[in-house]
């Protein structure tokens, strides 16, 4: 089974973010970067399917030069090769990015395309679904488990509030993977060494067709307004803890 995994490089969790001079994005020079969490689960699912059924795992990522480090991380974990769609996603909406990815993926004709259900930065949760639409393929979202059958795939899909369902679909198809379905692997030293020699094919946005005009624009970003007035309890850990116990007993009356 030939599989493609669309991965995204996102700012590392819990970093302090500053709004940049344009007011439309965050200061990127402050950031460290990581593989988007649910994309890591999509990669893991693909690697496990390859271990069971054979085939090839190709990762694809759109973004500027910096995404090369995240591509190498995926190769070190076991992907066979990669495609880097070199572009500035800041000028595109989610449809524009998906059009580039779809054009590059189509040229590979994979049996299965996987991606995470949502990015940790923009959080649109749309790329996989739009990819399926653009490639004319069936899709399923929020997938926790994948079994290959003679007819196609049998999937476990997460619904809301602790409910699940199974869903069957034919190949080729596109899946968005929910986190938690598998245990993630770490890259081994051998994997990291091997990754250096694996193929990373670079294509540019121009190679993939005419740029699309955005249907939706991000005009401005801002810190959210607080919904509650929070009493912050300061001092040493011991002082803060004592103050909190006091509040819980006499103000909130829960002790």
């Amino acid at each position: 089974m030939k599989m493609m995994v669309a991965i995204k490089q996102v700012p590392q969790r819990d970093v302090q973010v500053r709004i940049d001079a344009t007011g439309k994005w965050i200061e990127e020079s402050d950031l460290q970067w990581a593989l988007n969490e649910s994309d890591a689960y999509a990669l893991e699912e693909a690697l496990q399917l390859k271990e069971k059924h054979g085939g090839e795992v190709v990762v694809i990522s759109a973004g500027p030069e910096r995404v090369g480090s995240t591509i190498r991380e995926a190769l070190a974990k076991g992907a066979d090769r990669a495609i880097h769609v070199d572009c500035d996603p800041g000028n595109l909406d989610v449809l524009g990015v998906a059009r580039l990815l779809a054009a590059a993926i189509k040229s590979e004709s994979p049996d299965l395309t996987l991606t995470g259900l949502q990015s940790d930065d923009l959080g649109y949760g749309q790329t996989g679904v739009i990819l399926a639409e653009l490639m004319g393929l069936a899709h399923a979202t929020l997938i926790l488990h994948v079994d290959k059958t003679d007819q196609g795939l049998m999937l476990k899909r997460e619904l809301e509030e602790g409910w699940f369902q199974t869903i069957e679909l034919p190949l080729p198809a596109v899946l968005t993977i929910q986190s938690g379905g598998n245990k993630l692997r770490y890259a081994t030293l051998m994997g990291i060494k091997k990754a250096k020699t694996k193929e990373v094919r670079r294509v540019t946005a121009q190679d993939l067709g005419a740029p699309s005009t955005p249907a939706v624009t991000l005009e401005r970003i801002a810190a959210p307004q607080k919904q509650k007035s929070t009493q912050m309890l300061g001092g040493s850990a011991k002082e803060a803890a004592a103050a909190l116990a006091e509040k819980l007993k006499f103000e909130a009356r829960v002790l």
Partner: protein, 323 residues
């Protein structure tokens, strides 16, 4: 073009609360822009639900009725709504931001050359649509550019369903053309995960633990605090994904929804998927090393600090206060 249309979603034989919230959002848009508001109800047998929707102050309820949209599939819903949108050409199409909508609305929008502005929390003049970025650390303000229908989905709890005025709407039926062969997926019946042995929904006091705990070996420290308080222990998704606590203790959109008297969040940053599961709590306490963590936005009391120092100190302080 023909105004604002809201897509309603059936939940357990009724129109779900979040669909009414989407109607409230649609009415806000309609009032702002001087546009009429209609509702669309996809399904195989929508008469009773359409009559219920028709008691609200909306101009028209359209039953988007076909046997093949009875059970949800992305293919059938996209085809049905595509045909409606091509005929009616709405200015705005408003959805509740549910798992179902996330499964098909982005594809439907793309088919029409549009992009869904998803998970919207506020609508301002313009209109400008606000949605969260960076796991709730920032808000982004979005605008629809170019022509055609603007697709919007609204976050659960962001608009007030109880503010919808009553009225009486015309009910019409729109029958889409769908062939069984166009539906590529075969969905099964929903089922529950493992047997539920913990009912967090009725717990009065909850201590909930997140990524900040770092390792499973550090959990006993938090369990001691829960024991001192007489609280149930709960967790955010990553803790259950790692298998450190069973999934039945997970709070959030994919887990349980809780509303205890006290929700004490330890090392939880407060992504929206978690907040929707606990924001009904009476008193929220957050302990986190990051002063910018979104959990502080919903907290009544906050301590910025190292949880490995604060939690043991709090366990002692709680024991002392209870004596």
């Amino acid at each position: 073009m023909s105004g604002v249309w809201v897509v309603l979603e059936e939940r357990n034989g009724k129109i779900g609360r979040i669909s009414w919230e989407a109607v409230a959002a649609g009415q806000k848009l309609g009032a702002q822009l001087g546009l009429s508001v209609g509702a669309i109800l996809p399904g195989a047998d929508t008469e009773a639900l359409a009559n219920e929707a028709a008691t609200k102050a909306i101009a028209k309820v359209v039953r988007l009725e076909h046997a093949l949209v009875g059970a949800y599939t992305a293919d059938a819903f996209s085809l049905a709504l595509e045909q409606f949108v091509r005929q009616e050409q709405p200015d705005y199409l408003v959805f509740p931001h549910t798992y179902q909508v996330r499964d098909y609305a982005p594809a439907l929008a793309a088919r029409l050359g549009q992009v869904l502005i998803g998970d919207v929390t506020a609508i301002g003049d313009g209109p400008v649509f606000t949605r969260q970025l960076m796991q709730g650390r920032l808000n982004g303000e979005y605008k629809h550019a170019g022509g055609g229908t603007c697709f919007v989905s609204v976050q659960s709890g962001a608009f007030r369903a109880d503010q919808i005025e009553s009225g009486s709407a015309i009910v019409e039926t729109f029958t889409p053309t769908i062939e069984a062969s166009q539906i590529r997926t075969k969905p099964g019946e929903p089922f529950r995960g493992s047997a539920q042995t913990v009912d967090l929904g009725s717990a009065q006091l909850i201590v909930s633990v997140g990524r900040g705990i770092k390792e499973a070996d550090n959990l006993p420290m938090v369990q001691e605090l829960a024991a001192a308080l007489g609280a149930e222990i709960a967790a955010s998704r990553p803790i259950c994904d790692n298998g450190w606590l069973p999934i039945e203790r997970q709070v959030g959109s994919s887990g349980q929804t809780v509303a205890p008297k006290l929700y004490l969040a330890v090392g939880i940053s407060g992504a929206i998927q978690h907040l929707v599961g606990m924001k009904g709590s009476q008193c929220v306490v957050a302990i986190n090393k990051d002063p910018e963590a979104p959990i502080f936005e919903v907290a009544d009391y906050g301590i910025v600090g190292d949880l490995f120092e604060v939690v043991p100190a709090l366990t002692e302080a709680v024991k002392a206060a209870k004596q």
